[in-house]
C-alpha cells in the first residue's frame, strides 16, 4: 500500500445513525442499485449470504443424492439404480457435501461475521472476497456440468488411480473432476489468504490477538491449513489430468509411475481438509454456547490452543487413510499414535464446553439445543475416529460402513449441526427477524433423532462387514434390517432439514422483528443494528475485553475495573471519507493506518468467468479457447490492479 505525506487524525465521534456522517458512510458504502450493483458488490455481508445460500442449495442436491442411494440400499438386490448411476451418485454426493457445502458454508459464516466480530467495515481484500465466491460458484457448476457430457465422476471423491486413469475411466467425467478441483482450489486459496490478512490487519483497536472470538481462531486455523493443504491436491489433480490428456505417467506403474503417489498427495490434503471443515464450526459453538449459558467460555486460551494443535496434528496423520495399503508396520504405528493423539485437544474442547454449560445457566433456545446436541455427536464421531486410529482394528474397519458412520458423525455432527445452530443464532442479526422457536425445536429433535437412527446403525453395518461404495448387496449377509433402519432414519433426518428450511422461509416473512442484540450476546456484531448497515459500524468500536458487550454485567461481580479499560462501542473513530476502515497492528491491535477500501467492481466476476472459461477450454481440448480466456484473465487482473487515487493510504497522527 502506497502512502503519502499528509496525515490525518481520525475524528472520534459517537455513533448516531441519523447523523450527517452516517449518511456520508451510506453514500460511500452502499452498492449501486439494480442488477449491476448486485453483480459488482464486494460487501462482505452480501458475499457471506451468497456463500451460505449457495452452499445450502448444494446441500439439498447432495442430500437428495443421498436419499436416492438410501432407497437403492434399503433392501437387498434392489435395481432402482444401475451400478453406473449409483457410482456417479455416491461420488457426486461426496464431492458436493465435502467441497461444495461443508467448507463454503463456513466461509459464508466467516465472511459475513468476521468484520462484524472484529469491529471492522469489511474484509481486508473485498474484491478478492468476491472473486473467491464467484470462482466457488462456477467451480460447483463446472463439476456438475459433467452430467452434460453424459456421465458424472464415478470413482468416489478420493478418486484413486489407476481407476481414474484414461484406461479405466475414458469419459470426460474424471477430467471434469480434476479440472474442477484445480479451479475450486483457486477459490479456497484466495479466500484463505483474505481471512489471514483480515485477521492480521483489520481488527478494531484494542482487539488484541487474545480477545478475538474462537470462531475467528477456527477459521484462521482452517485458512492456514488450506493454504498448506490445497496445493497438494491441486497438484495431484493436475498431474492426473496430465496423465489423462498430455500422456505423462505420474501414476502409471507400467510406465514407471507410482499409484501410491496419488493416495499420499490426496490424503496429505484430505485430512487437514477434514479439520478445515470442522474447526470453524467448533468455533461457532464455542462462541454460541457462552451466550446461552450466560457466562464466558471456560478455558478460552485452552480451546484456542486446542484448535491450533488439532490442525497441526492433522498434518501428520494422513497415512491413517492408507493403513491397509501395505506400508511398513513401523510407520503405520507412528501415524496411528499421532492420529490417536488428536483425542487430547478434542477432549480439551469437549470439557470446556461441558464446563461452560455446567457452570452456566443455560437458556434452552433452538440454537442452544443444536450446540448442546453437537457435543454428543462430536464425542461419538470422535471415539469412532479413535477406534479407526488403532492400526490393526482399522484393517477391519476401514472401507466399511463403520467409516461411513464415522465420517458422517464428524461432518454432519460437527459441521451441519453447529451451522444450523449458527443460522438460528445469527438469523436475527442477518435478517432483522427472529426464527420461529417452536418449529425450530421440532426441526432440531427430528434432525437429531433422524440423524442417529440413520447413522448409528451404520457402525453396526460396518461391524457386519458391509463395504462402502457397493451399489447393492445380496441377501443372507445380515445387512438387510440395519440398512432398512438406516434408510428410514435418513428420510427422517431429511425431514428435519426440510423443517429447518421451512422455518427459514417462514421466518424471513413472518419472523418477529429483532432488536440489535436479541440474545443479549457479548460480541461486537450485536452492538450494531439488525440487519447491520452496509458500513457495519457508524464508528469503529474500541475493544478492551473478550466480551465487550458484557463488561457492565460481568463487572457487577468484581467491581475492580474502571472506565479506563472499558470497551467503547458507542464512541470511536469516525472514518467517513469514502470507504475507510482502520488498520491495526498484529498482536495488540494498536491503530496503525487508515485503510482505504476499494469500491464495488466487476473485475472479480469477470476474472472468475475468464478463469472458468480457461478451464472449459482445457476440458474441451480447445487450446484456442484456453488461450483467449487466459489473456482475458490477465486483462481483468490489469483492470483489477489499475491504480486508483482514492486508494492511497494515509497514516493517523499519534499523540
Amino acid at each position: 500500500m502506497t502512502t503519502v505525506e499528509s496525515d490525518r487524525a481520525p475524528i472520534i465521534a459517537t455513533a448516531n445513525d441519523q447523523s450527517m456522517s452516517s449518511a456520508a458512510l451510506l453514500r460511500s458504502w452502499e452498492a449501486k442499485p439494480g442488477i449491476g450493483g448486485w453483480l459488482s458488490t464486494v460487501d462482505h455481508k452480501q458475499i457471506g449470504i451468497r456463500y451460505v445460500v449457495t452452499a445450502f442449495l448444494f446441500l439439498i442436491v447432495g442430500g437428495l443424492e443421498a436419499l436416492t442411494m438410501r432407497l437403492q440400499l434399503a433392501r437387498p438386490n434392489q435395481t432402482l439404480l444401475t451400478p453406473e448411476q449409483y457410482s456417479q451418485i455416491f461420488t457426486m454426493h461426496g464431492i458436493t457435501m465435502i467441497f461444495l457445502y461443508a467448507l463454503p458454508v463456513l466461509s459464508g459464516f466467516s465472511n459475513y461475521l468476521w468484520p462484524l466480530l472484529l469491529g471492522s467495515r469489511d474484509m481486508a481484500f473485498p474484491r478478492l472476497n468476491a472473486l473467491s465466491y464467484w470462482v466457488y460458484l462456477f467451480a460447483g457448476i463446472f463439476l456438475y456440468s459433467s452430467f452434460v457430457f453424459g456421465k458424472g465422476p464415478d470413482n468416489g471423491w478420493f478418486n484413486y488411480v489407476p481407476y481414474a486413469s484414461l484406461t479405466y475411466s475414458p469419459g470426460p467425467n474424471i477430467d471434469v473432476y480434476a479440472l474442477g478441483m484445480v479451479l475450486y482450489g483457486i477459490s479456497t486459496t484466495v479466500g484463505s489468504i483474505n481471512f489471514i490478512v483480515t485477521l492480521v490487519h483489520t481488527r478494531a483497536p484494542g482487539m488484541s490477538i487474545n480477545r478475538v472470538p474462537i470462531l475467528v481462531w477456527g477459521t484462521l486455523t482452517a485458512s492456514v491449513g488450506n493454504l498448506l493443504a490445497v496445493p497438494a491436491v491441486s497438484l495431484a489433480f493436475f498431474m492426473l489430468w496430465m496423465d489423462r490428456q498430455v500422456g505423462t505417467h505420474f501414476f502409471d506403474s507400467s510406465a514407471g509411475g507410482q499409484p501410491m503417489l496419488w493416495q499420499h498427495l490426496f490424503w496429505m490434503f484430505g485430512h487437514p481438509w477434514v479439520y478445515a471443515i470442522v474447526l470453524p464450526a467448533m468455533g461457532i459453538v464455542s462462541d454460541g454456547l457462552p451466550t446461552f449459558c450466560r457466562r464466558p467460555l471456560v478455558g478460552y486460551t485452552a480451546v484456542a490452543l486446542a484448535t491450533v494443535t488439532t490442525m497441526v496434528l492433522g498434518f501428520g496423520v494422513w497415512v491413517h487413510h492408507m493403513f491397509a495399503s501395505g506400508l511398513p508396520i513401523l510407520s503405520l504405528s507412528f501415524f496411528g499414535a499421532a492420529s490417536m493423539a488428536i483425542v487430547v485437544p478434542s477432549s480439551v474442547a469437549v470439557f470446556a464446553w461441558l464446563a461452560t454449560i455446567w457452570t452456566g445457566r443455560p437458556v434452552f433456545t433452538t440454537a442452544f439445543l443444536y450446540f448442546a446436541g453437537f457435543i454428543l455427536l462430536f464425542v461419538i464421531g470422535g471415539v469412532s475416529g479413535f477406534m479407526t486410529a488403532a492400526v490393526p482394528v482399522d484393517w477391519q474397519l476401514t472401507r466399511t460402513y463403520f467409516v461411513v458412520a464415522h465420517l458422517h458423525y464428524v461432518i454432519i455432527g460437527i459441521n451441519v449441526f453447529p451451522v444450523i445452530g449458527g443460522v438460528y443464532y445469527w438469523f436475527p442479526k442477518v435478517t432483522g427477524r427472529l426464527m420461529k422457536e417452536g418449529l425450530g425445536k421440532w426441526s432440531f429433535w427430528v434432525m437429531f433423532l433422524g440423524f442417529n437412527v440413520a447413522f448409528f446403525p451404520m457402525h453396526i453395518l460396518g461391524f457386519l462387514g458391509m463395504p462402502r461404495q457397493i451399489y447393492t448387496y445380496s441377501d443372507g449377509l445380515g445387512w438387510g434390517t440395519p440398512n432398512l433402519i438406516v434408510t428410514i432414519g435418513a428420510f427422517v433426518f431429511g425431514g428435519g432439514i426440510l423443517l429447518f428450511f421451512i422455518n427459514v422461509i417462514l421466518s424471513l416473512k413472518h419472523g418477529a422483528p429483532s432488536p440489535p442484540n436479541p440474545w443479549d450476546a457479548a460480541s461486537l456484531e450485536w452492538s450494531t443494528a439488525s440487519p447491520p448497515p452496509v458500513y457495519n459500524f457508524a464508528v469503529i468500536p474500541i475493544v478492551a475485553s473478550r466480551y465487550p458487550l458484557w463488561e457492565d454485567k460481568m463487572n457487577e461481580d468484581d467491581g475492580a475495573s474502571h472506565d479506563s479499560n472499558r470497551s467503547s462501542v458507542a464512541a470511536g473513530m469516525l472514518l467517513d471519507q469514502g470507504r475507510e476502515t482502520i488498520g491495526t497492528t498484529l498482536l495488540d491491535a494498536e491503530p496503525d493506518v487508515i485503510l482505504r477500501m476499494p469500491g464495488d467492481s466487476y473485475s472479480p466476476l469477470l476474472a472468475a468467468l475468464a478463469m472458468t472459461a480457461a478451464f472449459v477450454g482445457l476440458l474441451l481440448h480447445s487450446y484456442l479457447v484456453f488461450g483467449i480466456a487466459f489473456l482475458l484473465t490477465l486483462l481483468t487482473s490489469v483492470l483489477w490492479l489499475w491504480p486508483q487515487l482514492s486508494l492511497y493510504q494515509r497514516e493517523p497522527s499519534h499523540e
Binding site: 437428495l64 443424492e65 436419499l67 436416492t68 432407497l71 432402482l80 439404480l81 444401475t82 453406473e84 448411476q85 456417479q88 451418485i89 452430467f147 457430457f149 453424459g150 456421465k151 458424472g152 484414461l166 484406461t167 479405466y168 475414458p170 469419459g171 470426460p172 428420510f491 425431514g495
Partner: protein, 187 residues
C-alpha cells in the same frame, strides 16, 4: 409419520432424481454394458458382403456396403475397451504395443494392404488375412470386433468413409489436384 404416504413420497423423490440421471447411460453409448451395445450393429451379412482385397481392387458397386460406419467410432469407452482387447488378444505381439508394427504391419500409418475403411478392418479381423493374420470371428463377437476397430481408428492411420473414393486413388486430403485429373475424377 404415515407409512404409505412415506413410501409414496420416497417413490416420487426417487423418480424425480432418476429422470435426469437416466440420460447418462444412453449418452454413454458403448459403455462396458455388452447387453445394450449389441444394438445398432450392422448385420453380419452386410459386413460379410464386402469383398476382401486391396482398396484399389474393391469394385465400385460395393461402395454402399463399404460405407458401413463403425457404431463405436470416437466412443471413448469403446476405444479403451478396444485397447484392452488389443492387449488381451495378443495383437500387440505382432503389431507392437504402440501399434507401429513388428511381425505384423504398422497400424498407425496410412498404408493398408486390405483397405483402411472401418468395415474393411472389421473384415480383416473377422476373417483373417493370408499372410498370417488369424481369423477372430469365433473368439470375438461382432461388437467386440467393432471396439477393436474403434481403437485402431483412434490410432489415426485409417481411411474415413467420406474420404474413401480419394483414398483408393491415393489422394490425401489437401492434395493439389491438376485440372485434368479433376476433370477425369468426375464420374
Amino acid at each position: 409419520m404415515d407409512h404409505c404416504a412415506a413410501r409414496a413420497g420416497m417413490g416420487m423423490l426417487a423418480f424425480a432424481l432418476l429422470t435426469p440421471l437416466s440420460g447418462c447411460r444412453a449418452a454413454q453409448g458403448g459403455s462396458s454394458m455388452t447387453a445394450q451395445s449389441t444394438m445398432n450393429l450392422p448385420a453380419e451379412s452386410a459386413a460379410g458382403a464386402v469383398p476382401l482385397g486391396q482398396l484399389a481392387g474393391a469394385p465400385a458397386e460395393t461402395a454402399t456396403s463399404l460405407s458401413i460406419a463403425n457404431p463405436y467410432e470416437h466412443n471413448p469407452q469403446a476405444i479403451q475397451a478396444g485397447r484392452q482387447l488389443y492387449l488381451q488378444m495378443n495383437c500387440a505381439g505382432c503389431h507392437a504395443y504402440n501399434g507401429k508394427g513388428n511381425m505384423g504391419p504398422d497400424l498407425t500409418d496410412t498404408y493398408w494392404r486390405y483397405g483402411g475403411l472401418p468395415v474393411q478392418i472389421y473384415n480383416t479381423i473377422h476373417d483373417g488375412r493370408p499372410q498370417g493374420m488369424p481369423a477372430w470371428k469365433r473368439a470375438l463377437p461382432p461388437d467386440e470386433i467393432w471396439k477393436l476397430v474403434a481403437y485402431i481408428q483412434s490410432l489415426g492411420g485409417t481411411v474415413s468413409v467420406s474420404n474413401y473414393e480419394h483414398a483408393r486413388q491415393g489422394d490425401r486430403p489437401g492434395d493439389l489436384i491438376a485440372p485434368e485429373a479433376q476433370a477425369e475424377a468426375q464420374p
